[in-house]
Symmetry: C2
Subunit: 106 residues, 2 copies
DNA sequence: CGTCAATTTCGAGGAACGTCGTACTATGGA
DNA sequence: TCCATAGTACGACGTTCCTCGAAATTGACG
């Protein structure tokens, strides 16, 4: 019983990202706020550095959805996990989608 | 009197369209199929002209969601209702979003 | 080693969603 | 007028989703 923990940082390959998955991931106010903060930051952001009106466990849930959809990627460093936008992949697959979302005033 | 007891085709104004509402509307396989068919058609399409794997009542439900989100508009003519994409409004509000979605191979 | 801080996992409650069948309205034609 | 056609309204059912708290994990530091 040596804890066969599955890797919590399973990202989809670029080819595995689907537009429907991305849209579902973005179609939530909390996750949209996360994406906006990651985009405006331009760099990696730790979970604690995100300003969202939910508890930490809920935040973990949302970050998992964004990661599984291919919207973000996570890098572990010590006890903190750094998240970043997969801008290159998204722009390549769905050119204009992310820009359009981020350009929205409402 | 103009409209007796019907609130048939209530569309949001352009200013009332939100990116979250649009994303929620697009984040469903049936509605995405509808949007793709409307886009490829380039013109108005009646409900019966849409090829989706759901019953008519479900189709009505999806068209209502797309309309309320501001993604499509509907025009009544006799007993048939013609639906079309609000491409201009969407491109103005969220430039690139729709193109990115439609460009998706998956 | 013991403790703290950052984050995840688990389980559960409640709300929202997609789907359908049936009944209904409204229009157009025989 | 009667009937077929196009689409909608309503109610119900099962599933998915968001949320939380409590417990567990992991690594850093004294």
């Amino acid at each position: 019983m040596t804890t066969p923990h599955l890797s919590p940082l399973a990202h989809p390959e670029r080819d595995e990202i689907t537009v429907e998955g991305v849209l579902r991931a973005l179609a939530d106010p909390v996750r949209l706020a996360i994406v906006r903060q990651l985009a405006s930051a331009g760099t990696e952001v730790s979970c604690g550095g995100l300003d969202v009106p939910v508890t930490k466990s809920t935040l973990t849930h949302h970050l998992g959805i964004l990661r599984q959809a291919g919207v973000t990627s996570g890098r572990q460093e010590g006890t903190t996990r750094f998240n970043s936008l997969r801008r290159n992949d998204l722009d390549e697959l769905f050119p204009g989608l992310l820009d359009g979302v981020l350009a929205a005033r409402r």
